[in-house]
Symmetry: C2
Subunit: 99 residues, 2 copies
């Protein structure tokens, strides 16, 4: 018997530091091709609400393990630290299974 | 010159009435095929977090007009009213442009 891993969806909601929304959106946009090419990534979208200075990263992964490996890779490169200077307050990170 | 409408993404976050999560998820799941077939729907996913009794509907539309037409259609059928009995507090409805 083979184990079929459950797909995982991720919604990350981020508020930009006031006046730095465009910079945050551009920096995140530039990261999207790597995200989409990462092993196990089924799809990834960047969603923008400039009027609320809010940005959402939406991703679907083949498994939670693939998603974790991606987060580790980003962290090791220092990508989160770099974006952190553009982010206001805490980001909200939520995971879901696909219905 | 032709006008290219901007794609619109929608994230609806819903908390179930305690103990009615499974019922809410099943009722929403049953609606997804119609959503996906609605004119202008590019994709639609149902995301589940049973441990938080939380559900997210994620959709991408060809335009905000297509998304509005869909909401009107659902409202006229009474679908929101029917689901409303299973929902705890207000749902959070947010729209975004695609980055």
């Amino acid at each position: 018997m083979t184990h079929t891993p459950e797909k995982e969806a991720v919604i990350v909601t981020v508020k930009a530091v006031p006046s730095l929304f465009d910079e945050l959106a551009a920096a995140t946009q530039a990261m999207m091709p790597e995200t989409r090419e990462f092993p196990g990534c089924i799809e990834a979208h960047l969603l923008l609400a400039p009027e609320r200075e809010e940005m959402v990263i939406f991703q679907i992964w083949e498994s939670s393990e693939a998603q974790s490996a991606y987060l580790t890779w980003r962290a090791e490169r220092g990508d989160f630290e770099r974006l952190g200077e553009l982010i206001h307050d805490e980001q909200i990170f939520r995971t879901y299974t696909l219905g």
